[in-house]
Point group: D2
């Protein structure tokens, strides 16, 4: 078998195509992974829709997708014996970093300015096989379910967002219950949060939030969020805000509900720049610290993920709401785009 | 009723006595608390036994005891309206700190050099009533059980010990399963520990350790601790050591089992100075950080305790193994001294 | 002598008046301070001009001013022996905090929501005498010059802003060279900064910036700030931004010049809310941490100030550009309002 | 020229020999460096003397030495374009780490359990040429003097020791004024220390300590260290202890002089295990934190070194007390062994 099935952006414009392609040989410092599961990220939907960001970044033809797991079936000539080997069950860090810049050398590889992203800048994982640099392969424990192993790239965003702030004994407001927001709920709990209140506009997602452990899940369209959220935390403000929605209104309300001296982690990207943002009263005079979150800490976040999953204190399976064979990618992507889903996993070769 | 029952050290030498004493009036910045529950600490046993430390520190006559909870029944003339008031359900921080030294002004009141300790330097809580500085009264939520509220002073030692180190995703070795060691188990879990292994010489205490959540509880007298502990953490060394026993052998073995770059919190006090302590290989060349732990952080630890108990992620009731009326103090203290107990709670006025 | 000279806001509207007033007796927990020097803050100019903020906050009649030093001449009945006493040479923390809220109990008294500010909410220090809570009196070493001792309240804003970020070996961009910006320059150096670049629109202030140690002082009206600032740091972005101006353009340019993974401390208050603020690209995707800064850390900042001044690694005297007797307050305030000054000190009783 | 001069341990036993050896070709991921300066470390003296540690670790024949600087003259086939290249002026991190263990992946490469050390486990730099892994080559700014560039490996120990503790505004006791102790003095100052007191038994070294900036340099053989040290810090205890001597008496006295809640960094290795070490009173009950220090943080320490030297806030030249051509290695090593020196630099090819 020398060719494989893959889902690719073949030309500038909306849509993907199912193609057949040569199985790529690994470069000297790469490994070839047989993909067993791949999951869909919001970014993939942006590329599918060919939004403004995609138009500036994506160079077709490109196999898309960056969340996956699989088995190493071949390693390049310069892969060393103490690195991942054939037969290893791996997931991938999707950020290919340079390793030599100041960020990489100071433990901030997650913001390496030379980062290339799998499925964005290099061929991705909506395919039967993918080659990745050996440094990007992360060995999973054998008992981890493939659909969970695939999710880790995105789960890592949630873990990074939560871990940027001390959760021990804290009251936490999480604005936004998309996949990353949902996953942050059990992580916040596992790292010590006392009370977790979440918000979202989607009743479907609020139900999922309750299912994975939110103490209270509120809908700004229906609920008096400020009053009910504060009632849930003894009439006080929140110790911590995790902004996972990108909605400017959520960010601003979240900062209003944050206590003086509180901390916020911001993962959600707004559709545009912010207007009428009251930095004086929301941040400076309240002595707030804001953490902008990008990617995953290399490799603290991956170690934390492994522990959270191994200890079974985080169960991601309720967040996986749909599963498809890769050949039904179209249905999978459209479901993701609908907003009526948690994470969606696809299986190549089915 | 102007007199009260109390348990006191009446003269230099072993033993306590049950006495009747005037109910003390609160000073201008004090509150009078009607004690509803009080618990026994190892320190109380030392005072009872009149050990060397007690002989140097305790000035009889002295009502003993420093762990308790109760209701404020009177406040001094200078207690302000925003401070605890009559009717409040409180526990006490047992360290009366000066508030003006460098330690107090820099958030290190737990090591204030001017500290006086309730039941050690001032009359204690093995009594129907006690006066304490209003600053030492901590308001409990009404739903907290008195036997749990009483334990907080000691629980705070455990919380402080655990919180000195980042537990998130860590493997943790806890040497010593006395009350503080036992209480540290669910706290380590609540703050994110992945795997918790404990050691103790007492089968009774090892059973309690398993009951409150240890993944593995080993007895150095019977088990090959090094091998089995490392097996439990995938053949690696531990990320964190919590030394709660005071046994030199436990400290040394714990440091041997700690990974290069690991951290240890030390709460247990050794019976004597250490001999043959290999600082080079156990600490310096491994790049270990050791945290000496004293008291409770004022007031981070108390906020963390409140959250841990309110969120029900820590349940202290399995650790409370015996309850007595205060009049049966002798039986209670002897049980504590036997080592065959967890925490012991006494109730005045029964 | 039972009356004193003071400068006060006597009615709602612009301006101050020189008045004679009874010397106030200290309350039970207060001290009476004979003011030897007082300095002018931008806030005082706002109150003088009766801007919108002042109209909402200030209740005339009110003696103004909150930066000062002096000698304690009387203490209240409940001041304890281990607290400041008659004869002590003190400066004042201007924030009167409650001491009992969560912020105060967790080492965040600088954002106590119950804060009252001297000269804003209570009578101030543009006077021969002032009473303050004993907790707000900070003892100065005897050799400290009064004009320097008076400045500490404002100096503390600079020290707090700098100390919120690790300066060790860092390249630092400071936007804004008003008094706090100027004072932050030697502090950043003293705490380990490698290269310090500053910006301001005033040539007068840029000269002062060079005088107190900026490696490069740029004027956005005349210089290509981005190019020259980056040239000064080996063509890289900055490790740290200290925003001391409140100018939105400065904040935005500063964040552009900040490296991915960098940190910013924000002290300057903008004249209004921000429009077109690109949180995605300036903060989130770059993994930036922003620290809003209010007041001074109680009491870390004061200890740091004392050390910086005692070690003579910071010399504030070049920043003191004008001195007046208090009776010439009008000239002093107008000079401050002109922007052509550093700090201005006034001496009562001259 | 295909051979080079080198100083080597040729057989098990005391001494070194001057040899001629083939210039080694770089491996695929190595660079060949023409050594311009090399400096002597205490470890080299241990190897020379063939002490117990050396007997267990060193496998002759071995070219010794691990502190050096030079120019890259050849690179291996797999060195990438964004890595150090021919013509670059470099120093070397002496720890060759594995890059794949948990320590390496979590920013703790300085305690990688797979570390091999240049000049200890692989051929060293007392030679005209040396090959090192490209990852170990650190590019120096062109204006750095070679004798200073060579020192960085050891300077890094000092920087690491100091940087493990917050120095800002702190009073610091440094026990031991060997090279690392001496270098830590200006670093502590540059990172914000207020008052620095040092101790050593050698008048020669105490003079050097004063020269590089100690406020007070005391000799335990002659001075009442406790009294004079505390007098120097206003009669208080010290905020920070840096133990650089390895002398048990210095460690113990240093911990006695450390304030409750203080921190200590330990770099000095004792000649043997410690007896009669009072962990209870020196560490636990005082709430002390001890940091064991090994190697240099990869790569924080190197960035900090570069900044300290570039900003000229640390001048290492007074600490370089002797310079020799490499051919006079015997005299150089004997001078180092005498204790009557600071750092000693040797120049190959002279």
């Amino acid at each position: 078998m020398s060719t494989m099935q893959a889902v690719a952006k073949m030309q500038a414009g909306p849509g993907f195509e199912l193609i057949r392609e040569e199985i790529p040989p690994p470069g000297p410092r790469e490994v070839l992974v047989k993909v067993t599961a791949t999951s869909i990220c919001g970014t993939d939907v942006h590329i599918y829709n060919w939004d403004k960001w995609s138009q500036g970044r994506i160079k077709p033809p490109l196999i898309v997708g960056h969340e996956f797991t699989g088995e190493i079936v071949e390693v390049g000539a310069q892969v060393r014996a103490n690195e991942p080997q054939v037969g290893d069950y791996v997931s991938a860090e999707s950020h290919i970093v340079c390793g030599v810049c100041q960020q990489c050398k100071l433990g901030q590889g997650h913001v390496c300015p030379n980062t290339r992203i799998i499925g964005v800048d290099t061929n991705g994982c909506y395919a039967e096989y993918i080659t990745i640099p050996v440094e990007n392969a992360w060995k999973n424990p054998p008992q981890m379910a493939p659909q969970v192993a695939s999710l880790q790239e995105n789960f890592g965003n949630a873990v990074h967002t939560v871990s940027a702030v001390d959760m021990r004994g804290k009251t936490v407001l999480i604005t936004g219950c998309g996949p990353a927001g949902l996953m942050s709920i059990p992580v916040a709990r596992a790292f010590g949060a006392e009370i977790i209140v979440t918000t979202d506009l989607s009743p479907y997602r609020l139900d999922l939030a309750r299912k994975v452990g939110a103490d209270l899940a509120l809908n700004p369209r229906e609920d008096d969020v400020a009053r009910r959220a504060q009632d849930a935390v003894r009439g006080k403000s929140f110790d911590v805000l995790l902004e996972m929605s990108g909605a400017p209104a959520a960010l601003i309300q979240g900062l209003h509900l944050l206590k003086p001296g509180g901390e916020a982690s911001l993962l959600g990207l707004a559709p545009d720049t912010l207007d009428n943002f009251d930095m004086n009263n929301l941040v400076i005079m309240k002595g707030i610290t804001l953490h902008g979150i990008a990617g995953r800490r290399l490799w603290e976040t991956w170690y934390q993920m492994r522990a959270l999953l191994a200890a079974k204190v985080v169960d991601l399976t309720p967040i996986i709401t749909h599963e498809f064979p890769l050949s039904r990618w179209h249905e999978a992507v459209e479901t993701m785009a609908s907003g009526e889903s948690g994470k969606i996993v696809m299986y190549p070769g089915e």
